[in-house]
Amino acid sequence: MIHINQLERIFRSRLRRRSVTAVQDLTLSIEPGELFGLVGPDGAGKTTTLRMLAGILKPTSGEATVNGHDIVKEAEAIKQELGYMAQQFGLYPDLTVDENLNFICDVFDVVGDAREQRIQELLDFTNLHDFRQRRARQLSGGMQKKLALTAALVHRPKLLLLDEPTTGVDPVARREFWDILTELHASGSTVIVSTPYMDEAERCNRVGLMYNGRLMVCDTPGAVKRMLPGAVLALRADNLAAAERVLKDMQQVIDVQPYGDVLSVIVTDHGDSAAIEARLSEAGVQVESLRPAPPRLEEAFIYFVRQYAANNHRPIEEVRA
């Protein structure tokens, strides 16, 4: 459905006489029916990637096709076939839900009986029926996101590009939004969603971890977690701050990450737990429990970024123009 080859985008600023490489060396294929998660911190290149795929932004070099259409030469055809939801609310705040949807239907040429039927169907689907007459600005953040998604769906796109659709949305609204994505995925739509949340990334069938414009890792969430070297031990103890200080100096400890009342200790080998327990009690830390735990995607992500920064990564290149 999507084939990306060596895609690159450089933003040049004449005023400051420098350029920033937002996306580089991006090669990736996405199959029909995938629920693909694009994960990474701010400035990783997620939005730039989605905008290029949506035919809104031209790449500096490289190429990509969406549904067989070239993203530069056939950008208009792509726009007809996909639904794009920008990170910022892109509808009219002073129009009602109904007025906004009618406007979008005009744009995509959804007319006549088909229009009312489609709007009804979508309002059922996104549970916005009771709010048809409400102005968009008076909707809660979560409902605005649902309205934006509804608008992206009016022309029945087979492919959806969603740019951080749940950022700033509370957990109840977020769950509702994901219930909608789940239904879209189950009915065969291809969905590409960017997110800063690791728990959302876990729910995708594949994730791409982006950092500084590059795709660091791309695989199923399970495979990405298995790439984490060594093993994870979950430590509960009476004084985690002291435990952390002690563990960081141990040779067989790769990384220590606090998670509330648990300390995640990434070690070279599960068998090290006896040595760790001995060292902790030597330092006066009372261990409540030290058990092997399944790795989390967040642990893997933090580890990859640290590795990437330490080894082969160069900071976003600042090229003198």
């Binding site: 911190p41 701010d42 990783a44 809660s140 957990p171 769950r175 994901w178 800063p196 690791m198 648990v262």
Partner: protein, 327 residues
């Protein structure tokens, strides 16, 4: 407790606290306490009363009913001397965009009554802690979200408060910066400062030692993250990613409803994943594998995981909503 070297007295004690705005009840008789040095997470959807509670604890908003004791003093008659021992980082970025980092810190420090050497020492500490050394002369708009947020935290703890209140401090901040921010909170907490933080990020809530779930003004659960999960969602979750979601979901739901899926409690599709809630994962896992293999349904990433805090939260919210729907 991250640090045991302090006495376990409560620095916040709240009993049946209530706040009405006209006929609207923003906070509906909540009770909780926070021991010194703890990281306490106050969790809930937008509009559930989190900010109103913080404003009452800070002495900025008088309660309609109930009591709130902060650092041993009733918030209704909170003296300035008590307020000087509290720090507050509000939801909105409150520093001056046209002042540099160092000018902002000086301004806040003087506002808290710090001068001369003490002020210089504290600013130095904050710059070091927030990793802002070398950026002293930049203005906030030229800093990225993570830096700005650490600067705002620095300004809130310049005067070494006993309690710092953080109102959704990481909204809209990326995961790496959030991680760095939480590392800072752990450091501050280890030094004995109590941290009261509101959030609606569940992964962040997992970082807190104790939690209160607030929903439409009412506290619907409290306790350590592990306790809340085990109380409200006993059991485990089998998680797998089917190659074809719809087909696998149909087959598993049918087996679950017929009682042929071990002791499964619930089957749900969440994104590309199927979650099967069960009391004993071991026997159910075998039943699930056999069923999928027999039906020739391929899958990846078969895991047994503990239920998440978000699952517990959604379950609690549903329990709150159900009686209303039945009426």
């Amino acid at each position: 407790m991250r640090n045991n070297n302090h006495n376990n007295q409560n620095v916040i004690e709240v009993h049946s606290l209530k706040k009405m705005f006209g006929s609207f009840t923003a906070v509906d008789g909540i009770s909780f306490s926070v021991p010194r040095g703890q990281i306490f997470g106050f969790l809930g959807p937008n509009g559930s009363g989190k900010t109103t509670t913080i404003r009452m604890l800070l002495g900025l908003l008088p309660p309609t009913d109930g009591t709130a004791i902060v650092l041993g003093h009733d918030v209704r008659k909170q003296a300035l001397s008590v307020r000087a021992r509290l720090g507050y980082m509000s939801q909105k970025f409150t520093l001056y965009n046209d002042l540099t980092v160092i000018e902002n810190l000086k301004f806040y420090g003087r506002g808290y009554g710090l001068h001369n050497r003490k002020l210089r020492e504290r600013i130095d500490y904050v710059l070091e802690m927030a990793n802002l050394k070398g950026r002293e002369h930049q203005t906030p708009p030229s800093l990225s979200g993570g830096w700005r947020q650490r600067l705002a935290l620095g300004a809130a703890i310049l005067h070494e408060p006993d309690i710092v209140f953080l109102d959704e401090p990481t909204a809209g901040v990326d995961p790496l910066s959030r991680r760095a921010f939480w590392d800072l909170l752990y450091d501050i907490s280890a030094q004995g400062t109590t941290i009261f933080v509101t959030t609606h990020y569940m992964d962040e809530a997992e970082h807190c030692e104790n939690l209160g779930f607030i929903y439409y003004g009412r506290l619907i659960a409290q306790g350590a993250p592990g306790t809340i999960k085990s109380q409200h969602l006993p059991g485990e979750v089998i998680q797998l990613t089917p190659v074809h979601a719809a087909g696998a979901m149909q087959a598993l739901t049918a087996a679950h409803e017929a009682g042929n899926l071990g002791d499964s409690l619930d089957v749900s599709l969440y994104g590309a994943q199927i979650h099967i809630m069960t009391r004993s994962a071991a026997t159910t896992a075998d039943a699930v594998r056999q069923m999928l293999d027999r039906a020739n349904l391929a899958y990846n990433d078969f895991d047994i995981i503990p239920p998440s805090l978000e699952d517990a939260f959604i379950r609690l919210v549903q329990a709150q909503n159900d009686p209303v729907h039945q009426r």
